[in-house]
Each structure stands twice: as C-alpha cells, then as structure tokens.
C-alpha cells in the first residue's frame, strides 16, 4: 500500500507530548513516525504533502453527532453527515442513537456500520440506547449492543428519567467499562421552554429553561455514578454551576467526564432577541457568566472534551414559530474555526489542550484506538491552517441542512485536509 509524507508542519500530539515542527510519515494506513526524515532512511514515498504553516494533529473526533439516519433522512444521512465531518476536520464521529427507530438492537448497529462503510468517509462509532426503544422504561440489550460494536450508551435528546433505571444502567455498563453519555435535564422545570430562563427570556416573554433544570440532573447523576462506580459522561454542559459540580465530583474521585459545545462557549441568550430559531438548542444558550464558566472548565480540564452536538434540521422545520421549531444547530463544519477563534486566538487554551479536547480525550472516553500519532496507530490526521480567515457560508456546507447561526461569520482557522487511515478524504478547494 501507499506511503505519505506530511512535511514541515507543526505536529501537535498530546498523547506523546509533542508540539514541534516536524514531519509525519505514514505507510499502509498507519503512522510510521513523527520525526525529521532527514535522519532516517525513507524509502520511496508515494505522496508528499507540504504542511509548512499548518498544524498537523491526530484526526479530530466528535463524540456527539446526530446523523439522523435511519428515519430522518430529510435532515441528514450517514453519508452527508460524515462528509460534513470530513470537511470540518473530523476523522471520527460518534453517532447518537435518537434516530427512528432508535439504535437499541444489534441489527440497527449493524445498519449504521454498513451504511458508514458504504459511504467510505470517516469512522463512525455507534452509541447505543440506554433504554429499549429509548423509552426510559427498561434497559436495552446493552451486552448485545457492545458485541455489535456500540462504544457508549445514551438516551440523548431525553434524560434517563427514572433514577433507578439510571442506577441500573451505571451498574450494568461497568461490566463492559462503557460510559453513559447523559443529557441532563429535569423536564418539569424546562417544560415548554425555548431558551435560557433569565432577563432576556423575561423581556421577550419566552418560556425559559432554568439553569437549575440542568444542574439538578447533573447532581443526581453524579450521586448515582458515585454510588455505583459507573462512568458518567456529561453531555453539552452549558452552565457555570454545572461545570463547578463536575469539578467537585472529579476532586472526590467520581468517574465523570464532560464535554462542551462551541456554541455554548461562543453565544449567549442575548442572541435570541431576534427570535431566530437557529439559536434554539437544548441545552439553551446561557449567559456571559456561563460562557466564562465553560471557558474556565475547558482551560483547567474540568471539561474534558469539545463535542459539537451537530443537530441538523431541514430548513422548513426551522422556519416555524419559535416554540414549534426543533432544538438544534449544525456543528461539524464550524467547530475548528470557532475553537481557534474563541479558544486559541484568545489565549484561553493552547494547541496541545485543544487537540487533547478534540481528539485524544474523546478517543479515551469512547475507548477507541484513535486520537494519537504514536508509531503503529491508525493514520487519521487533520491538517489545519491556523491563520486562515474565512467566511462561513451555510449554503456550501456538506451537511444536508443549513441551520447554523454562524452563517456569515468570519472565523480564523480552518481544516485544509482530512486524512483517514492514510487516505486523503477531504481537501479544502
């Protein structure tokens, strides 16, 4: 098979503590070495990529993506969603099982894996349902799903409402060392809400979703994770106090990890003043103080990773009254630009921390053999131009949907090439 030399880029690989200008050699889909090729015999190289001025990272991993297939192919398909992932620099995604039908059987896991193989785009890791039919009543056949390849479990879209069922899920998943990815929301408190409850919702007369709705459920799940020894992964944490709860839990030794989404560290509830449903997501955009809490949590590692909660909705669904429009925004194709612009350019985190949050740690949480450029590992690589200024144009997204509030924004930092198992799968035109 082929060999490839990525020459002269800034290689950032937190798994090896590397952040230096160097070459990366790939052969037969695997990493051979990071190192100056001048000093070692190269042999014949089939393809050389000049990476001068670019950042070279282990392929980015988005552990929270809604690919919508099966069931809502008008919003996204496995093929279009994974093409969007590649365009955003993601070599792997974990797809969330709130599809129709939900991914709660071996056959459904197999369906996704086959579709993903046929699309031949990026890696798709399957998240299975915690509960059968995602109904929150009884456990799904978690062991069977693990056998079929599920890497984690989630009823995302909804919380696992029954506390005893959640306890059982934590206990049962310990047997397979799989995390539960939890959507934290007390529904009675957020019922009918369309945005964060605060001064803005009060002024606009919109029903609010209080921060406490998220924090109360985080508190419950932390207690259950502690008592069971299970692994809790808090999805899309959006409040400063939620971050603090996780910080305290980590200090107590509870097995908890967490993710934050680019929109939650970029936008606030003020954005809703124009009543644009592209700013409607769950959890909702919160306040400037919450944004600050998330940025601090990302910087000190309380929040392990960055995930996009990529949630496509066809334009006609978003173009409805605010309470009828669905929750969710696109994430895959704007994530790198938002992270570079909001996190790195501002000095909140450095490249090593960013790559840890967007590649190394998601791989560790999901227990997948990715997120590193160690010799012998699968050659998933992302090339980012850290200084490229570009304007977001939703009409040019690879995704099937266009529901991005960042349409028209100018961002710094963009993926220029995405390499999966040694093959260039995306190149910025």
């Amino acid at each position: 098979m082929a060999s490839m030399l990525i020459r002269g880029g800034r290689v950032v690989d937190p798994s090896q503590g590397i952040d230096r200008i160097d070459d990366l050699l790939i052969r037969d889909g695997l990493v051979v070495a990071v190192g100056q090729t001048g000093s070692q015999p190269l042999g014949k190289v089939d393809e050389t990529i000049d990476a001068e001025g670019l950042v070279v990272t282990p392929g980015l991993i988005d552990m929270h993506v809604h690919l919508r297939e099966p069931g809502r192919e008008e919003d996204e398909t496995i093929e279009t969603g994974t093409r969007a992932a590649l365009a955003g620099g993601f070599t792997s995604v974990a797809c969330i099982p709130n599809t129709e039908p939900p991914i709660d059987t071996q056959a459904n896991v197999e369906f996704i894996r086959q579709k993903a193989a046929r699309a031949d785009t990026c890696n798709v890791f399957v998240v299975g349902c915690v509960s059968r039919d995602r109904a929150g009543k009884e456990l799904a056949e978690i062991g069977q799903l693990v056998e079929a390849g599920a890497v984690a479990f989630s009823d995302d879209g909804s919380p696992v409402y029954d506390a005893e069922l959640m306890r059982r899920a934590f206990e049962y998943c310990r047997m397979f060392d799989k995390p539960i990815l939890a959507h934290e929301e007390v529904l009675e408190l957020s019922r009918g809400g369309v945005m964060h409850e605060g001064l803005v919702s009060l002024s606009l007369g919109l029903k609010g979703m209080p921060a406490a709705a998220e924090e109360v459920m985080i508190g419950r799940d932390l207690a259950l994770a502690e008592v069971t020894g299970g692994r809790l992964h808090v999805m899309h944490v959006s409040t400063a106090h939620g971050v603090e709860l996780i910080r305290q839990a980590k200090a107590r030794g509870i097995r908890v990890t967490a993710e934050a989404c680019p929109h939650h560290f970029t936008l606030t509830d003020e954005c809703l003043r124009g009543f644009d449903s592209n700013f409607k997501m769950s959890p909702p955009l919160r306040t400037a103080a919450d944004v600050e809490g998330i940025l601090a949590g990302l910087a000190d590692g309380t929040i392990d990773c960055i995930a996009t909660d990529h949630a496509p909705h066809a334009p006609e669904k978003k173009l409805l009254e605010l309470d009828r429009a669905p929750f969710g925004i696109l994430g895959l194709e704007t994530a790198v630009g938002l992270c570079v612009t909001r996190l790195i350019e501002t000095g909140r985190i450095d490249w090593l921390r960013f790559v840890a949050a967007a590649s190394q740690l998601p791989a560790e949480i999901l227990g997948v053999n990715r997120g590193t450029l160690r010799p012998g590992s699968v050659a998933d690589v992302t090339l980012i131009d850290p200084g490229l200024k570009w304007q977001v144009d939703a009409t040019r997204f690879a995704s099937k949907s266009i529901n991005s509030p960042f349409d028209g924004w100018t961002l710094t930092g963009r993926t220029v090439a995405t390499i999966v198992a040694g093959r260039v799968k995306y190149r910025l035109q």
């Binding site: 009060l202 002024s203 007369g205 919109l206 173009l319 009254e321 605010l322």
Partner: protein
C-alpha cells in the same frame, strides 16, 4: 346605529392633517423599538383620528382602497373586532383570517399562508399568535406592513398605547406619574408593552404580584417590583390590573383564587386607601372578583370603557401610519395593486 356609517370628513383636509413625517417604520412589532417621540406621534395621531371620526363612531375614507388582513392564530374577540372596525372607519377593506378556517390545518406553514395573502395585494397584516416573535419572523419574510396584535406573553403594542392614551386623557403628561402594573406579569404582553411605553414617556412603573408571577430579575432593568399591593397603593397614580392567564400555566402560581384575590384584588376597601384621583385600568377580558371587584370595575375612576374607545383610536392611528404613510410615499406598485 347604521351598519354603514356615513362618510363625514372630506379626505383631502384630514389627510393633510394626519402626519406621515416622523414615522419611519414599516411595521409595529413592539414598543421597545420605538422612541418616546414615535410613541407620542402615534398617540397624537390617535387623538386626530378620534376627533375626525366623531369619537371613533363615524367613517372617513383616508385609507379607501387599502386592504388589511387580520391574521389571528389565537382566539381574540375584542382586539380583532377593534382592528377590523378601526380599518373600516378609515375606509380600508378588511379580511379576517383565522387559523381554524385556514389551510394551516392542512399543514401549510404560517409563512406560506402570509406570503399567499401578500401576493393578493394587501397593504398590512395584523397578526396575533401564541408564540413570542412570530410577528417579527413574518416581518422578515413579508414586504407589507406587519402589526403585532399580541404575540404570546411578549408584546401587545396597541394595548400598551391605548392604556397610555387613556391615562394621558385623564391625567395629562405621564412624566412623574407612578403606575402600578398588578397581577400576572409573567404571562402578560400588556405588562411588557406598558412597561416599555410608560418608562419611555417618563412614568415610574412598579410591577406588583406574587413572586411566582413577578420575577426579581425585572429589577435588572431598573424597574421597582413589589409583592405587597397594600404597601405600594398610596404611591400609585394609576393601577393597571392584569388578568391571571390560567391558560398559560402548567402549575398554578398561587394556592387559590380566593387567596390571590385577598392579596391583590382591587376592591372598595383598597380604593379608600388609595390616592383620591387614582385611575384604574384593566386590559380585559376582566375576571370580576379576581383582579378587581365588580363595584370597582364600574366606579368613576375606572377607565375600562375609555380603553375600548381609545383602542379604536390607537389602531386607526397605527393603520394610518403604516398604510397611509406608504400610500403617500408614491409607491407605484402599491398604486397598481389598488387599481387592480
């Protein structure tokens, strides 16, 4: 009274008296976006309309040839009737369009519905909807004027204007007046529109009700809040008694109507402890015995029926500014629409 009132005012002279300068908005979506001058312009125009129509009872024809659609996605009797009558008093054609009789039940989106109506050559859409922001969303997709007739708990600009006009008629300049808005602030578009309009015109606003209906957060806007009607009563020049909107709550915000009325209903006893020239408003429909007792609702200090007449005047003014201003702006396309 005749169904077809006689046209009494010649269009020429009145038309020249009605203002078009000073108004630059295509839509009326909420009072928050208007300046004090613009709010005063509407109120002054309302006074002119009221005079020209002999107290809103006669018809003039300054908007003859214009077509106004009432697009109501939420039940309404008085506001819809008031807008219809206001448009007819100015000589405009009015089409009533309610969600239950429309193609919305066939799954058409409300934007498609509105665009279809627009394509028929109308001049303005009066929209009521249960969801805040829906008139704003429509305005972004239509070229004709959009008038918000109430969007959920968010805004009801003509209600705010008619309340303010009623106060101004009775008490004059609003500067320095203290206005208590009492009751279901949480779910009241009337409260929000009053709040913006009154504070822009220099009045002091106190929001009063139980903490389940009056959030502490309003203080962040510099508004006084109170949970004790009896404490603020002696300071108020005006009380606007807002209806408890039981239909918008999941769980009751207070233990019983009896307890609510005990704490917040305006009754004769409280009236005795208020300023002698206290003015009482209620946006209606009123729940007699909940926000206000029947005797107080009908007392001389109550402006409840003036509010209804002023509602017509304010809506005539708004329709004139939004449709008439466009007519004056020599828009050949609009002229063609009217000829057709």
């Amino acid at each position: 009274m005749s169904n077809q009132p006689a046209v009494t005012a010649a269009p020429g002279p009145l038309r020249s008296r009605l203002p078009t300068a000073g108004w630059s908005h295509r839509n009326l979506l909420d009072l928050e976006e208007l300046s004090a001058e613009e709010i005063s312009l509407i109120l002054d125009t309302a006074v002119l309309c009221k005079e020209a129509t002999d107290g809103c009872r006669r018809k003039i024809d300054v908007l003859a040839g214009s077509a106004v659609v009432n697009l109501f996605f939420e039940n309404s009797t008085r506001t819809k009737t008031s807008f219809s009558l206001a448009a007819r008093r100015l000589g405009a054609d009015v089409i009533d369009f309610s969600a239950s009789t429309s193609s919305l039940s066939k799954g058409e989106s409300f934007i498609d519905t509105a665009k279809n109506l627009e394509a028929m050559g109308i001049d303005a859409v009066v929209v009521r909807h249960a969801t805040p922001g829906t008139p704003h969303l429509l305005a972004g997709h239509l070229d004709v004027g959009v008038i918000n007739a109430g969007d959920g708990p968010h805004a009801h600009p003509t209600q705010g204007l008619l309340d303010i006009l009623s106060i101004r008629e009775r008490l004059g300049d609003l500067r320095g007046l203290t206005v208590g808005l009492v009751g279901d602030i949480a779910h009241s578009r009337t409260a929000r529109s009053n709040l913006w309009g009154l504070t822009k015109l220099g009045a002091k606003v106190i929001l009063c009700g139980p903490p389940t209906l009056v959030s502490d957060r309003w203080r962040e806007l510099g508004v006084e809040i109170s949970h004790d009607l009896d404490a603020i009563l002696p300071r108020c020049d005006v009380l606007n008694l807002l209806r408890i909107q039981f239909e918008r709550q999941h769980t009751s915000p207070f233990p019983s109507v009896r307890e609510y009325a005990h704490l917040y209903a305006m009754n004769r006893d409280r009236l005795r402890r208020a300023k002698p020239d206290l003015v009482i408003l209620a946006p209606g429909p009123i729940n007699r015995g909940v926000e206000v007792t029947a005797d107080v609702a009908d007392c001389p200090q109550s402006l409840i029926l003036d509010q209804v007449t002023n509602g017509l005047a304010v809506r005539m003014a708004v329709l004139w500014l939004i449709c008439g201003g466009r007519q004056q702006a020599a828009d050949p396309a609009a002229d063609r629409r009217r000829i057709v």
